[in-house]
């Protein structure tokens, strides 16, 4: 299958899906209260944008997302790399990590509210938790998997001082794994962003809850698609960055 044929097939599949959805509703096979007409979505989006609601929600959610990502990713990478490099530190927190790891980010919502109230900080906190674990494990395994021969190269060429080895061998060698973790975190972050806002923090999630209580399913779908689009854009930008940083790898 050529790339063009694949694109064509994918577009056909999506169009057919929307068409069937539209027809099922119009023919009365399914009541219109369950899902909105696909053809109504663009107009609803335009209305949301015209009222300024869409922009406000996107900016607000993006702020929670960005803060949570920055916090969770940086801490995850630092703690993960440190755990792989420092056996004592690793042993000290190994059981703690095993205990905390299975707790889903959303289970932290009660504490988030007690500690931070219904605030953007609470949302950022919840987002950062899921992102932290992904980056923690990705960085840890990436550093663990470094060929010990490369450390010997550093030692043989006078680059074995802790800081030199870290920046000249450890981090570049672990970069593919660390970047893979960051990318996975970018996706995980969007999943938690909506859930974190469901309990009333201004943002896409809150707007969706509001709309669903009014049975405005068309608005819900607008924001579902918004999340998908935002994620796609961010992921695509990240892949560009990743390719650039890893341009030394054989393609």
């Amino acid at each position: 299958m050529s790339q063009r044929q694949r694109l064509l097939a994918s577009a056909t599949g999506l169009t057919a899906f929307l068409l069937i959805w539209e027809l099922v509703l119009r023919s009365g096979l399914l009541p219109g209260t369950l899902v909105p007409l696909p053809s109504s979505i663009p107009l609803v989006l335009v209305a949301e944008i015209r009222d300024g609601v869409w922009q406000a929600m996107v900016v607000s959610s993006f702020r929670h997302y960005a803060i949570g990502m920055a916090l969770g990713s940086s801490l995850g990478v630092v703690v993960g790399v440190a755990a792989a490099l420092l056996p004592l530190f690793n042993a000290l927190h190994a059981w703690l990590a095993r205990l905390l790891r299975p707790i889903p980010p959303l289970a932290w919502i009660p504490f988030a509210i007690i500690w931070f109230g219904i605030t953007p900080t609470a949302a950022a906190f919840i987002i950062s938790i899921g992102v932290f674990w992904i980056n923690y494990f990705a960085s840890y395994s990436a550093v663990q998997a470094i060929d010990p021969g490369l450390d010997e190269v550093a030692a043989a060429f006078g680059q074995d001082r802790v800081d030199r080895r870290l920046f000249k061998v450890t981090l570049p060698a672990a970069a593919p794994g660390i970047l893979g973790g960051l990318r996975a975190g970018l996706g995980q972050g969007w999943m938690t962003v909506v859930a974190a806002e469901l309990f009333g923090i201004t943002g896409i999630g809150q707007r969706m809850m509001e709309a669903s209580s009014l049975l405005a399913t068309d608005i819900v779908v607008v924001y579902m698609l918004t999340i998908a689009a935002l994620y796609a854009v961010i992921d695509a930008l990240f892949v560009v960055l990743q390719r650039r940083l890893l341009r030394w790898q054989p393609q």
Binding site: A142, I146, A156, F157, R164, G177
Partner: protein, 273 residues
């Protein structure tokens, strides 16, 4: 032999991992521009010896004296590994500059030095490529340029040609013979190939062990043959046989068979790339 002219002196050296010696009672000295080949069955501690001599492994007993490097911008020793072990995220040029970093050289000085040694291994036109774009033999030559660039007084070479095809190996052996006339470095050359040892060296150090336990030096044989066209020199074959017989008298054929495949395997798999 004037001991003060030596750039390397091992005295009753024992090396190993943890506190278990792999090798003990190693005693030899090396003068500038000399090449000593280290041979022995697999598991006789050839690579361990290099790590002990260079200080990558601390001695368990005895001592190693390496002449200190007095010229600025150089290092006392450097190493060529069995696998090229280039840093894949650095371009060829930056790989050769690795050992020059932290020596107080300016960026221009580092660049010029790297280019000089890339020229010497005839790969200057590859300076701006990534290591993965080069063949195994080319990568190994970059590894050699990296080691030469720090202008060491002692160059350690750990089976540097063993992972290469026969033709490339011959070319690099020839290159090393020529290199020896240009560099003041003394070379410790580990190989499992006895012919290669006799071809390249001034002396052959045979490692081995009589029974279970640490290995030691079984023989230290001078190679009194002209370096040019040595393959065709009378006495080349008989010298190889002499060294071979020294190794054959070392028992533990089971050890040898069990570990021989490790040598052929070459590089450990890399997690990245």
């Amino acid at each position: 032999m004037n001991a003060s002219a030596r750039v390397l002196q091992a005295t009753d050296l024992a090396v190993g991992f943890g506190d278990v010696p792999v090798l003990e009672g190693v005693h030899f000295g090396l003068e500038p521009q000399k090449l000593i080949a280290v041979v022995g069955a697999s598991g006789a501690g050839k690579s361990t010896l290099l790590r002990g001599l260079s200080g990558l492994l601390p001695p368990l007993a005895g001592s190693v004296a390496l002449a200190p490097q007095t010229d600025p911008g150089t290092r006392a020793w450097s190493m060529v590994f069995q696998a090229p072990r280039l840093l894949p995220w650095r371009r060829v040029r930056a790989n050769v500059e690795l050992g020059l970093e932290g020596l107080g050289l300016s960026a221009t000085e580092r660049r010029l030095r790297a280019e000089r040694y890339l020229q010497q291994v005839e790969l200057l036109e590859y300076a701006d490529r990534w290591p993965h774009m080069l063949s195994g033999g080319q990568q190994q030559r970059i590894g050699l340029a990296r080691a030469l660039a720090v202008e060491p007084r002692v160059l350690f070479m750990d089976e540097p040609f063993s992972a290469l095809d026969a033709i490339t190996r011959r070319r690099l052996q020839q290159g090393l013979v020529q290199l020896r006339q240009r560099t003041p470095a003394a070379i410790v050359f580990v190989t499992h190939d006895i012919e290669e040892a006799v071809l390249l060296s001034d002396r052959v150090l045979v490692l081995g062990k009589e029974r279970a336990g640490p290995a030691t030096v079984q023989a230290d044989l001078p190679v009194d043959l002209p370096l040019d066209d040595r393959r065709n020199a009378p006495g080349f074959r008989s010298m190889i046989q002499d060294v071979e017989s020294m190794i054959r008298t070392t028992p533990h054929p089971a050890d040898t068979a069990a570990t021989e495949s490790q040598v052929i395997e070459g590089d450990p798999p890399r997690s990245h790339g």
